[in-house]
């Protein structure tokens, strides 16, 4: 969008609290319905429990990527703590259920709240700084949390004769609770889990959509396209960034909780650089700052990951190269490519 159209439309729309007057919301609705229809049909088409498990994992990644795209692609915060936020949600849920016996239905949102709180503290420390420093600091904070968990060797309690740490140490937590789908659906429990994770994904997507369309989203667009103008119009960059950082952390933490309960386990390996890289790759390949990019990226990268599984140990190497190559060769990602193609077709037709 050029500066001229922005300055004419966006503040007016922002003031009225209306969505931006363009056609893209009907397009989003159409794509959304198609995605939802496919998602609803999948359990009837797929018999394999392994494949369903991988699809659930793809939904988890897509949710995390959508949230990271929201804070990086829209709000311009290059946070490298996304997996740490995810982990805090997962650990929060696991620890609350483990130590206090809470039902997962309570501990998942509680864990998400914890993730939001942690994110706000992080945001207060980081977001006044400029771009690269945010990356440096969020990376350092994520590493510190990880290191504190894996080096935790102090026995908090004993399970039989084995020593267990408060944070779960290097092993993490397992079997702290479940969705109850096994008792309810028996052999088809994975379909139940699929439904629950899918619901979480839809929630994540909707929330991200509303933020992008809200006055806050327009504020970000203004900050990105014409920062001087936006600041002059009274947009407070720090406050808007902090708010979206917190909101997106809640949903990232929620996804972390769903992940932990689905696998009935969470350990320090979720912090790994490979996982963070996977999320970055999804967003970069899909298209930074595009709404459907991360979803398309998640599908594509899960497929690529599945293909690379045959090659085993080359998986991480391949991932690293994919992300570097995509940044160089596909600067606007799949979504940008699709947009360019559509434009070329329509101009020819």
């Amino acid at each position: 969008m050029s500066d001229a159209t922005l300055s004419a439309e966006a503040p007016a729309a922002a003031a009225a609290g209306l969505p931006a007057a363009d056609r893209s919301w009907t397009r989003d609705l159409a794509i959304g319905l198609v995605v939802l229809a496919i998602a609803a049909a999948l359990p009837f088409l797929i018999d394999s429990r392994y494949v369903m498990g991988q699809i659930i994992l793809a939904l988890v990644w897509a949710s995390v990527a959508v949230q990271w795209n929201l804070i990086f692609g829209y709000a311009g915060i290059f946070s490298l703590a996304q997996m740490a936020i995810f982990a805090i949600g997962g650990y929060g849920c696991a620890m609350l259920s483990h130590y206090f016996g809470w039902s997962v239905w309570v501990s998942i949102p509680a864990g998400a709240g914890g993730a939001m709180l942690a994110s706000m503290v992080m945001g207060l420390a980081c977001l006044r700084l400029s771009g690269v420093y945010v990356a440096l600091l969020t990376y350092a904070i994520a590493q510190v949390i990880y290191l504190l968990i894996v080096t935790d060797t102090e026995c908090f309690y004993y399970e039989g004769a084995s020593c267990r740490q408060l944070t779960g140490g290097a092993t993490g937590f397992a079997r702290f609770g479940s969705f109850g789908t096994r008792e309810w659906l028996r052999g088809d429990w994975i379909m139940g889990n699929y439904g629950i994770v899918l619901a979480g994904f839809v929630l994540t997507l909707l929330m991200s959509w509303f933020i992008i369309r809200s006055p806050m989203g327009l504020a970000f667009k203004a900050l990105r396209d014409n920062p001087a103008y936006a600041v002059a119009r009274g947009v407070n960059r720090f406050h808007t960034q902090l708010l979206v950082f917190a909101l997106s952390a809640f949903f990232t933490g929620l996804t972390g909780g769903l992940y932990a309960v689905h696998f009935q386990a969470i350990g320090p390996d979720v912090f790994s650089m490979t996982n963070l890289l996977f999320v970055l790759a999804i967003v970069v390949v899909g298209g930074v700052g595009t709404f459907w990019g991360p979803v398309a990226g998640a599908v594509l990268l899960m497929l690529a990951d599945e293909a690379m599984r045959e090659t085993g140990e080359f998986r991480t190497l391949g991932l690293g190269l994919i992300i570097a190559a995509a940044t160089v060769l596909l600067p606007k990602g799949l979504a940008g490519l699709a947009g360019d193609l559509a434009k070329r077709l329509s101009s020819k037709g």
Partner: protein, 295 residues
Amino acid sequence: MLDVVVAVVTTALTNGALYALATIGLSLVWGSMGMLNMAHGGLLALGGYAAYTGSVQLGLPLPLAIVFAMLAGAAMGALLHLLVVRQLLRSSGAGFETAVMIATVGISIALQNALLLLYGGQPLGQPFDVPGSIPVGAGAVPWLNVTIVLVSVGVMAAASLLIARTKMGRAIRATAQNRDAALLMGVPVQRVYLQVLALSGALAGICGVLVSSITQLTPTLGADPMLKAFIMCVVAGLGNLPGAIAAAFGLALVEAAMQFAAGARWGFPTLLLLVIAILIWRPAGLFGRARIQRL
């Protein structure tokens, strides 16, 4: 009591020298081209393994093996410029800062994984070693630590002379201070960027050898020094080399003292809290000039 002081100071000086060496490579690249090289840790690991290959597998004498490590780092830095940075500078415009971070995160992981595949996951011993120690009061300072400090300081001094006194260094500084003006003087800016990345790679290479000599060779050996280097850069302000060196020694002392006082795992978290406090107090870094935000 005195032996504790000796031990803390030894650790602080050794780590400070290593952090400083890791930091100046990172800071140099940032200062000249506005690029945060997330693959810097990977270059450290590459240097460590290259020295191992040089001395154990090729049978080179140790000094030559170290030169080999520096060459490997420099070659990788140059490759990074040719394959990634050059293209991104051309295509991404204002988005360069983040695009290059993402791309180098990818390169870093690929590099570490390639090392894992080539050398296996078992930690290897770096042949670079200096036996013996100097008794100081009740404690003792190992010769290895003394050597690490001396080599680091020597390498940093050589690098600063290169930047301050040579024509190449003058072109690097000119490009960093005003890219357009450098072009008008006939400075081939892309070649300068190539030199900067190669130089930073060479510094990372020797830093990797030194780091692995007191720890072990693993593909992730660069992760910890890079993490610390990030922190030094944040405190000193990116691109500020003397500040980064001062921050490296200062923070290494705090870390070493905390490790002795509260246990090894609390050293870095304390450091980070301290840094966050500093940043809330001075968002441009401890020594950073408050730069006017470009809108």
